[in-house]
Symmetry: D2
């Protein structure tokens, strides 16, 4: 396999560059018989669009998805589903100027060296955050498949941006609010604080990081393949594939390193006929397998690398240090736009494991 492929039985291959003709994905292994049309995917893609006030849009693309294969009479056929969006609003001139001035915090320099200078550097090319649109295309299908077959629901939100952290909310609140505010926060109140922080930071030509928390409900027990294909391994792998991610933790995560066994172990009890745990420090994954409790994990995003402040870099032509102000307008934080990406990435992993385990069958119903 290769770096552009994820999943084993519900497999996604992604392609495209930021300023090329298209970004897209081929999803192979989707069961036949899932009702699917472009609106199912567009609605997820639209959530990834930048907001109006807190995030300064670099580009205003339509991002209209087209399904090019694998769907017939409104249903998936079992054949590969190719999806793409065309890149329309792209202005590559500033990148031509920067080709010898690698931006700090970006892949410009390593990409140039790894590919002998043949890489498409415009807009970050293959390393652009725009490639996450491909995650969403595949994830939108995964989400619908999980919802319709298993009732699985995946809910992510901005837990923290620039140190402003949401506290004391429940998952129902998060479900209802996260896409009602531009910060993708679980409550309107924290959204307002995050927004102020973002606007203030943007005003200084600087940027912020933050944490996306993701919860998956109704995941059946037993998903995951020990050891290297454990569910947390695969979620961590895809999370770290998202540009700007620097960490991931499950359940009590890094905080658990300061707890004792008696504090951190989740004790079992019978809830009617079902065995549940009183706490969920393990985050719904035990021994690499889903244990029937909500899956809970958090993804750390560094502050956005493109900033309007002066930074030192090198000039590859003159071999001297220079000062660089990255031109254009920048997202002061990627966290809000990453929320649907994390949701869809999570759905991709869960769908693959559910298909592998035979919990989702290869045909959904039968066509007359």
């Amino acid at each position: 396999m290769s770096g552009n492929v994820i999943g084993e039985r519900f497999l996604l291959l992604i392609f495209g560059e930021s300023h090329g003709k298209v970004v897209g994905a081929v999803l192979d292994g989707c069961p036949a018989g899932l009702g699917l049309n472009e609106d199912d995917i567009q609605s997820e893609l639209d959530l990834r669009k930048p907001g109006q006030s807190i995030v300064t849009t670099q580009r205003m693309e339509e991002d209209r998805v087209e399904i090019m294969s694998g769907v017939f009479n409104g249903h998936t056929t079992g054949a590969p589903i190719m999806m793409l969006i065309r890149n329309t609003d792209k202005d590559s001139r500033s990148y031509e100027a920067m080709v010898n001035s690698p931006r700090p915090g970006h892949a410009d320099l390593v990409a140039k060296m790894k590919y002998g200078g043949f890489n498409d550097y415009r807009g970050g090319g293959r390393f652009s955050g725009r490639t996450t649109a491909s995650f969403v295309m595949g994830g939108a299908v995964a989400k619908k498949l999980l919802r319709e077959t298993l009732g699985v629901e995946v809910i992510a939100y901005s837990l923290e941006i620039g140190g402003v952290r949401a506290e004391g909310f429940d998952i129902d609140t998060a479900r209802k609010n996260r896409y009602m505010n531009e910060a993708r926060a679980p409550t309107a109140e924290v959204a307002e604080q995050m927004k102020r922080k973002i606007i203030e930071t943007r005003g200084k030509g600087n940027s912020l990081g933050g944490i996306v928390e993701c919860v998956a409900l109704n995941v059946p027990l037993g998903l995951g393949e020990p050891i290297f294909g454990s569910l947390d391994s695969d979620l961590a792998r895809i999370a770290l594939s998202i540009p700007a991610v620097k960490g991931v933790e499950f359940g009590s995560g890094f905080a658990s390193t300061r707890l004792t066994g008696t504090e951190n172990n989740d004790e079992y009890y019978y809830d009617g006929d079902e065995i549940r745990t009183r706490t969920n420090n393990t985050g719904g994954i035990l021994g690499g397998l889903s244990n029937g409790m909500p899956i809970v994990y958090r993804v750390a995003f560094k502050p956005a690398s493109s900033i309007a402040s002066k930074q030192t870099t090198v000039d590859l032509a003159t071999r001297k240090e220079i000062e660089l102000i990255v031109p254009g307008r920048h997202d002061p934080t990627v966290v809000p736009r990453a929320v649907p990406v994390v949701e869809n990435a999570t759905a991709l992993v869960l769908a693959d494991h559910a298909v592998r385990a035979g919990i989702i069958p290869p045909i959904l119903g039968k066509r007359q």
Copy 2:
């Protein structure tokens, strides 16, 4: 592929159960011509052995590795290398008693349900920490290969145990000290503090978690395959495959979420002919590719699940809640023993990517 396989070109398949006949591994794709004998592997396995005072050994196995194939005349041949250790000191009686009483924090219950009760439950079976010996077998070959071909060095240590955190040391200190003390700490001083904390906690029938930090030096620029096969994705994946791991972070990691772009971006400069960064907040991986700086990441381990204190669980036969004291003697923390596991896991990923990239060729030298 499957849950027991990792790597693409330098591929490891692991097998075995805690109380079965063996634990072992098959390494496929190792270049031909690497000098290799059992001592190369044994020396790494020995580092994983429990210490004498701070960790109460559950079992005192010899853990003598045998190479069964793929090595001829003292060199690897290019054929699969099968390695194993025999399980000798195993007492499964206590597990028979517990078969209906799943231990909190262990995979007992999910394993039983996923495999219809056919799983080998003795000693945790396939979910035992003992399977990490297989990581080490493969990793020992990877380490030697990386060292001899690229000069890569991988150094892990206990950064923190039970809240006792090592501060203010450098990598040379850590290299020298980590295997000179039972806590696998980077300095003798913090080792002593960790040891006291461990002994104290064990005395209370409780357990501790902690953080292993891992540094890889001399990694060539450009390892990693964007996007899903990025170097951090693959390191995160294997780290989360180690039992008891609940999180992973690279460079400034979760702390970066509270920094600004100007604080977190690593600026470039020329160090003679080489381009380096003044800081290494990115932890040596940018855009999923190694950037030539030291790779730095941290792995969070939860407190050990097996504790001598009373816990509530369910009895699967009577369908009632019961109280359980896990019998036997327990490791009060897995962190020290995990240090060589993290090192070897890291080497596995780096070797696979170096082989994929053609940086390590398929034949090392030529035999007369």
Copy 3:
């Protein structure tokens, strides 16, 4: 992986249906720095077009390929190359009529049952010979890569059609002639005989099979991975992926089963400094590895399934036997059109193995 993916490091994922919007392919793992434009691919696709006199065209598509990603400034970038052609001349009406009348020799019935009736049945959908255009798209890149880096040349031709067999020609003759005649025969004489046979058979509403022979020159010694990834295994696998193929043989092949060891073994000799074999009964592959001699193999195509004669089939609605005359105009043999498909499929396998072996490096040259 999945049924639509082939290759490990030079990986092709194909998609599309006969009467859908597109057929296409994503090629991942092509080294950066290969000069590539649409003409490189179009010229191979054009060879797959039906001829004018001997094969009755069912459709007259332009089949203009578009490269949508992975190429920048005229060179491959190392990122996935997505290519497609749009389906323009498609008339699906006759297929609507046949939806309950599976055509003998076609996948209509098994496809319907495997996919619960959700498959796109128009024009055979995913099972159409049209999907071989995707083989050619990927193969065209492979061919150019092999030619420019290793001087490898792949030459296929119609060895036999409807029992008319080419004899007594050499590879130079075949190279020169095969695309100069519609039968894709190695000599003009046998082309004429094949053509007469085809026209005569078509006149009777019947069809013919035949054999494509493929020769690869200048393949370096040592390609192939024993045992399951042997070069002949992978060539056989892709050959059998081509619709209508029912057999494959290497070197002396099935005829070798009637030879003795002394007759069939290829003896070694020194040709200057190079070791060669006097005969090539093994077809250039020994122990699954290329041995430096020309690779020679043959692919058996059954007679085309769509014929204008009356056949018995079943009516799935009435559950009765019926008589069927497949409507439309039909290729009386697929062999001539399969010649470039076999060439390109061969190139795909060789390129993947050359990349795996590091014989073709991940970057070709360096861009200023």
Copy 4:
């Protein structure tokens, strides 16, 4: 993946050398709950043992299989099953003498060059026919799994040896007779003729090739993944992985190339409620999918390469041509011993596809 791995969900990794310590296999992905012990595997391995009169045994190994992991309380657990046999009767001295004299028809020379001389050359090392014992170990599990869950039966036999071809028998005859005679022929009469031919040829220091035919009964409709993962692609791939195989054909195979469409198409009819075909020229696979009819294919074996006659080869030390008589006693044909190998290889592919398709579930029953 690598050359030593086959299968996707029911995955076999094989290891070992002819004169090393062991040959063996790890089977990963076998459903939990299959009753399995060493006799199940031993009985298949015993069929691969050489006979007494027609084939001169080179070595008389016990070939006792040991299951080392993945089985508990007489059932598979869902964990990897490691199996091995120890190499006991090995005499490597003659190979030391031949290290610079590559045997014609063997992989000696290509292996030496591919692996820089580091390969284990003793007894052919990794390229020995002895590695097919590993196919049988995995295949024995596959066979039992297929039989117990789906009633699938796989029957192979020597269709032809040295030009002596079995004609006019049915599958029941073949099932009953094939392992009752040393030639593994479908009838006692043809077995006797084959035996005479073999003994006569051996007397001349020469060897014979032949054809193994394999029939799989009760294979459910729809196994196979179009296009590259088609059932015939995967069967061809594994068949060509068996040493000495030079061709494979399905159903009417190469003979179909001289038939017309009306002769070769299999017409449908209702057999009660089931749709069947009147003929089975397609060999049970249509469009790459099993169609519910018996799967029928043939595998061509070249004459055994090791012969007692004088042959010309090169001396790599002196760089001169020399004459070689391969020392030791030789199998005059590999065909009889290949019969169980083909059966078990076929079972491996069918089991993998049945598991992929979810037709065989991940747990067989439930343990009290």
